[in-house]
């Protein structure tokens, strides 16, 4: 070995970064299109965040309600996102989702069934019909296992526990990626004309979150540093129902399926408070009394949906208000009750992992007593700006799919639309990356200077004489984001957040890493992750400060209303000379035949 810092060198056509649902689906697609493909992931294969998705994948298959079509799904998605979605992505998604689900079944996924043997579908917030293909409440696990097994079957190369820290470019085109093996700390460089980012979200920057350590916004930051643009970054989804007690599990997700299966939200007075929070926008389609709401489960046609199944942003805000008004539960949440709504046997069969999770971690038997819940940071609607049909970013050769891409979900994502999003756009990103590589007449080259710069940057924390502990800086960032850039935002708090982020950036420069070396050194890993976390946090705070209205996953205390003028604009962020630029960009306009879908009143 020449030098401990010399990178291993691999050559591929398409390198996919991230091995969750979208990454694996992209890799399968690129491989099938003939590209030499590799998947690179920070964890072991099969551990990515998709594993935690519970409810299901939304696809208008019409197995339970034949009335369901892609048009209805499209309309639900757009309305759920408060019309800020990229209409073309929402359309493609609604049209292609059923085929992607069937494909999973062909690869071995075992979905729950309807009595006539078709894939069963369940109700979820914001979806007019029961639409979520599911496997109990562990749909994500089934999905990732199926895709993982398909990846292995096809013999696609997998680089496990390998973190990418920089994208490499030749002129303005992508030429590869640089990273390190977590296990040894040795460096690795990929030469590849196309990179698909499928790195997921950014939720690690908040204290109360359903996201794991992997969600440090790597893909968002990598794209930004490589000249890409981010869109809709102000919209962060706080899932209405996270666990609140015991403290160690605060934020861990409770699936929306609990409400889809009939669960109701109550405050400390025992009142089903959601009836008090039905917004004008959804009045026509939401039940205003308990009788109608309860009747809806059996008859969707003649009854309106219960308010517990409003889109997530509405429910999260309502819970937040109840807690603030002093009508919360003992540990600072509200009550989510399924025990009085379904039989114990039903609950154990339909929500097995929820039953297990509460029993094991909270000493709560959900078949006998209510759960305590409060909102938790869950998903970022914003992400890399991509072409709606090809998932190509503005950087030639750079593609993005899944949570790391933006536009599809507008200002708020409906539950269940994420798993289908992964499949639909993962496939498209993989295929288009492969065909982009095929269309090239010359392959971009990796410059040794760039590799050296990336290496120096990565080892810097070891040489740093500073005394900052990376874990302490991360903890402070999480606390500031939680307090100042949470569900409800204000101008002065956002301004303070930006100042704090600047201060944290300075501290991050002084982070030093102790320990025996680079091999599996979590302190070093955290020091490197901090860079993406700070970059992405700044993007969220800047965009949130800029958008002076409330919409979906962005609620401004000082601008509580929805402003139609803002409804015509996306905020687009780019990095120029080390600082973040914000631009207002008009929303793409949908064609008249799609507009007509929104004019039929209900």
């Amino acid at each position: 070995m020449a030098d401990a810092n010399t990178a291993e060198y691999y050559d591929y056509d398409v390198v996919v970064i991230g091995a969750g649902g979208s990454g694996l689906r992209a890799a399968i697609a690129a491989h099938e299109a003939g590209a030499r493909t590799a998947v690179v992931c920070k964890s072991l294969l099969g551990k990515a965040h998709t594993v935690m998705a519970e409810g299901g994948a939304a696809a208008a298959m019409g197995n339970v309600w034949p009335e369901d079509t892609w048009q209805v799904h499209f309309r639900d998605t757009m309305r759920g996102g408060k019309m800020l979605n990229n209409w073309r992505m929402a359309q493609v998604h609604a049209q292609e989702a059923p085929a992607r689900v069937y494909e999973l079944e062909e690869w071995g996924a075992l979905f729950d069934r309807t009595p006539d043997g078709k894939i069963s579908q369940r109700d979820f917030g914001g979806h007019r019909y029961a639409r979520l293909a599911h496997i109990g409440d562990r749909t994500g696990l089934e999905m990732i296992r199926t895709l993982q097994q398909r990846t292995v079957e096809l013999g696609i190369d997998v680089f496990m526990e390998c973190t990418v820290t920089r994208l490499l470019k030749d002129g303005d085109r992508i030429s590869g990626a640089f990273g390190y093996w977590r296990e040894t700390g040795s460096f690795i460089r990929f030469t590849a004309p196309a990179v698909v980012l499928a790195t997921g979200g950014i939720g690690r920057s908040w204290t109360v979150t359903s996201n794991s350590w992997e969600y440090s916004g790597d893909g968002h930051a990598l794209a930004l540093w490589a000249g890409g643009s981010l869109i809709n970054m102000e919209f962060v989804q706080f899932h209405p129902t996270g666990m609140v007690w015991p403290p160690s599990v605060k934020g861990i997700l409770i699936t929306e399926s609990v409400r889809g299966e009939g669960g109701v939200l109550r405050n400390s007075d025992g009142k089903r408070f959601m009836f008090d929070y039905i917004p004008e926008f959804f009045k026509a389609e939401t039940a205003d009394n308990e009788e109608e709401a309860d009747a809806w489960y059996a008859d969707h046609i003649n009854n309106r949906r219960p308010p517990e199944l409003l889109p997530r942003d509405e429910v999260a805000r309502a819970i937040n208000s109840e807690i603030k008004a002093g009508r919360g539960s003992p540990h600072g949440g509200v009550f989510l009750d399924i025990s009085t709504r379904r039989s114990a046997e039903d609950i154990k069969r339909r929500l097995p992992s929820m039953y297990h999770q509460f029993k094991e971690l909270g000493d709560v038997d959900i078949t006998k007593e209510p759960m305590e819940v409060a909102p938790t940071c869950h998903y970022v609607m914003g992400g890399i700006e991509v072409d709606a049909d090809t998932q190509a970013s503005i950087v030639p050769g750079l593609y993005a799919a899944g949570e790391v891409s933006g536009g599809m979900h507008g200002s708020n994502r409906l539950g269940g639309n994420s798993l289908s999003d992964l499949l639909v756009f993962g496939r498209r990103a993989g295929e288009n990356a492969a065909s982009y590589v095929a269309s090239l007449s010359t392959r971009p080259r990796v410059s040794d200077v760039d590799v050296q710069a990336a290496t120096d940057e990565a080892v810097e924390p070891f040489a740093n004489p500073g005394s900052e502990n990376p874990f302490a800086v991360m903890k402070d960032l999480q606390e500031h984001m939680q307090a100042l850039v949470g569900i409800i935002r204000k101008q002065d708090e956002l301004e303070r957040a930006l100042k704090e982020i600047e201060r944290l950036k300075e501290r991050a420069k002084n982070v030093s890493v102790q320990g025996t070396g680079r091999g599996y050194n979590p302190g070093w890993h955290t020091a490197l992750d901090l860079r993406s976390m700070l970059t992405v946090s700044e993007c969220v705070a800047r965009a949130a400060l800029e958008r002076k209205e409330s919409r979906g996953g962005h609620t401004r205390d000082d601008y509580p209303g929805t402003d139609p003028e803002w409804g015509k604009l996306n905020l687009v962020l780019r990095e120029r000379r080390g600082s973040i630029d914000i631009n207002r960009q008009p929303l793409p306009q949908m064609p008249d035949e799609l507009k007509a879908l929104f004019e039929e009143g209900k």
Binding site: E105, R145, V152, P247
Partner: protein, 355 residues
Amino acid sequence: MGYDLRMRIWRGDASGGDFASYAVPVEEGEVVLDAIHRLQAEQAPDLAVRWNCKAGKCGSCSAEINGKPRLMCMTRLSTFDPTETITVTPMRTFPVIRDLVTDVTFNYEKAREVPAFTPPHSNEDGKFRMQQVDVERGQEFRKCIECFLCQNTCHVIRDHEENKPAFAGPRFFIRYAELDMHPLDTLDRRKMAQNDEGLGYCNITKCCTEVCPEGIHITDNGIIPLKERVVDTKYDPVFLGLRIGRRKDRRVVGPAGGSGPSPIKRPGGVQPGVAVPVPPRPATVGATAAASTPGSSVAATALAPAPPRTPTTAVDKVAAGSSTALDTAKTALPAVGAAAGIGFLAWAIRRSRRK
């Protein structure tokens, strides 16, 4: 109520290590992983540990707590006496990388040996029909979160490195069982489970079932039915007598395909600074790329001029030659055809090698 938890944690790497003692402040309701995280943040920033979901769904944080294989995120501190010292060690069956992190590649290599689900026909437009009662059998096994605690516990490989090549372990026996019970699967894997994966080594002590954090009845619902299915055809009692005293040499099981490097890449697999040529690949059928018509994707791989590398095989040399030809006449259909032919040839050669 908070208290100072006393912990002994194994620290070290492949070259050796020892226990280190710590006192960690902990709070009510916390789990072992919380204590480890606090330790990492405040006292030992280089303490290596794997984790992801913190809710028992991903199976990353497997370790041995007081000698018992457990998920650290699902082991509540309230199950211990506050005065007790908790000992945490890495899984014993797998080689240590550092501290609590082990090299679980064994499992990923075994996964490659299982022949995938083989449906009778395509599922275009959702043609598959299955009954809930039928899918539920397989669903139990698909609850597996691949924490590999069952593999870690299994005495066939726990202290018997020599058995590893011939034994897939409980995790993969339930994978076989799951495929076997899939209502639409058409492939018979019984022989393979017995001959190649070492199903016979299992003497159903049920240790795997006991440690499964998902409560899967690995032995009762998976391994035993699988053994029964194997026995049904393999050991016909009439001929059993003929077999006594005879034993064929066991075939050594290599990675699936038998040839070529593993697609599961590990650090240090190649010389730093030297390009690793990944051979061009023919397209699989059924590529649906809007932009690429069938056949052209084969040419596509050849069309994108490969980076400078020395052709290593005869097939590579031909492919390299044809890519130059294609550069000059990209629209020449015969050349595309030739490239497709070569692609097919490469594929056929690789196929035959595999056999």
